[in-house]
């Protein structure tokens, strides 16, 4: 029997639910030595800001048990260069859906970036795990009011492209933030971003990251991400993209059963550049074993 891996996000058809997460796939070209990106459900671009950014000082990656830390700090060439150079370059070899990932340090910055890229990509994913410089660095993603404000601004600045809000897990109650974004008009949610973490080099007695703390990702965070996708999916009616610690086809199925319509694979790509290929190749096989005919049938199936 043919196994149907197709899913759809706000009417955008994906041939399978697997896409790389923002920040591990550059602007789409870095994996071409390994496989054709056209096998992916979608491509998600590196976090983009209004102006070019170098990001934080190095070292800005560190290893952990079953995971890693990063404090890259949104290095990107800025929204104008992404639109004029990176997007056209990507379209030369990739013909599937594209998701842009937008970050900002003020509500206006989010709105202006979203407005510029509206209509040029298939989905805009707004990353709210950023400090609000206008409000003493408080995270947009940790306060329901601020999260709603960014969502409204992004929706107000766009007319053509659906807006997904990417949530931070560093909160007491993620359902509260998810509901606030939905009420503010979000077309979908992506969760989760990285968990705050730290490593200290016991030989030098200093933090490994120059920035001291960073975002924890990788297979170690899978149960946390799964729990949050499960909790949020139960209280919202907009589609959820699940991300966090996915490293194999089994994780994709589990994440979809928890409520995700599609999934993103992050750090696993950095240790195995064939990760997405491997997962996509395995999916039909696994569906057969589990007696799943259409992948959409298992979305949110876990009680």
């Amino acid at each position: 029997m043919v196994r149907n891996t197709q899913v759809s996000l706000c009417g955008i058809k994906l041939k399978n639910p697997v896409m790389p997460a923002s920040g591990v796939y550059g602007f789409g070209g870095e994996y071409r030595d390994f496989y054709d990106p056209n096998i992916l459900g979608a491509v998600v671009l590196k976090g983009t800001t209004a102006r070019p950014r170098f990001g934080n000082p190095t070292p800005r990656v560190a290893e952990c048990t079953s995971g890693m830390l990063n404090s890259v700090g949104l290095q990107n060439p800025g929204i104008d260069a992404v639109i004029s150079q990176e997007l056209p370059r990507l379209r030369e070899f990739y013909h599937g859906p594209v998701i842009a990932n937008i970050s900002g340090f003020s509500v206006e910055e989010y709105a202006s970036c979203c407005g510029k890229i509206d209509g040029l990509v298939d989905i805009i994913e707004v990353n709210i795990s950023c400090p609000n410089v206008e409000r003493g660095g408080m995270g947009f993603g940790t306060d329901p009011e601020l999260a709603a404000e960014v969502t409204r601004a992004a929706k107000g600045a766009t007319a053509k492209t659906p807006v997904f809000v990417k949530l931070s897990p560093n909160v007491a109650d993620i359902t509260e933030i998810g509901i606030a974004c939905q009420e503010a008009g979000a077309d979908g949610l992506t969760l989760i971003n990285t968990l705050l973490g730290m490593r200290i080099d016991i030989r030098t007695k200093t933090p490994v990251l120059a920035n001291k703390i960073g975002g924890f990702s990788g297979s170690a965070i899978f149960p946390v991400a799964l729990r949050m996708v499960y909790e949020v999916s139960r209280v919202v009616h907009i589609p959820v993209i699940g991300v966090g610690g996915i490293s194999k086809a089994e994780d994709v199925i589990e994440m979809m059963m928890a409520g995700a319509t599609a999934v993103q694979v992050g750090s696993e790509n950095l240790r195995d550049p064939m990760a997405c290929y491997r997962i996509i190749e395995k999916l039909p096989n696994l569906m057969e074993k589990l007696n799943i005919e259409n992948l959409v049938d298992i979305i949110n199936i876990a009680e």
């Binding site: 030595d33 990656v61 890693m68 890259v72 240790r271």
Partner: protein
Amino acid sequence: MSKLCRFDILENRQVAKDTYSIVLFGDCSSVTRPGQFVNIALEGHYLRRPLSVCRASTESMTLVYKVVGSGTYQLSQRKPGTGLDILTGLGNGFDITESGENPLLIGGGAGAAPLFWLAEKLIEAGIMPRAAIGFNSADEVFLAAELAQLGVPVTVSTLDGSMGARGLVTDTVGRIGLKYDYVFACGPEPMLRAVYGLSEVDGQYSFEERMACGFGACMGCSCETKYGPKRLCKEGPVLRRGEIKW
């Protein structure tokens, strides 16, 4: 072009204090220049470990590494006949076509490994380099005999004076007034800085940075240069003197 391949360990032996040389058999077609590196997956370690290529042919390559932590320790315990999952052909490597007539190869510690293949390539191109290499003490010295066998005049320095000249390799080069018209440097950053400060002579410098992917995807290894940010795993690890921003 980078490539993900299985390699068989042919040999893995200690060559100096805490320093090992590993010979790997497999597809080395992507390793084209001295100064390039590979990224090795090790069991129980989430991220791969980057190591420079010390020498390579089409089907085998040698890496020289120092045991500094659990990853390199695990590698040192691996037996010939077992396999490794390696990402090869990473980084830009040295460009020997830019060399002068009398280049100096300068390196320190395990980071000096790429100088061997570089010397071979220069000699093939009809250029006989000089080499100056530095270590902490005599028991850490490697590469000196191999370079000498190629006919390369080698100056060894050790910090404690137990072999060759006493002191830092850059102090030695300055003191004995070595003449050179181009420099190829690799080693720890303080050494690179000192080489840079020795003279105005043009050259190429190979840098190290903590890495995650090693193939340009994560932006973990970026550094600022005079011509904008560069990923040391992709547009590096070798930078031209003229672009370095300290």
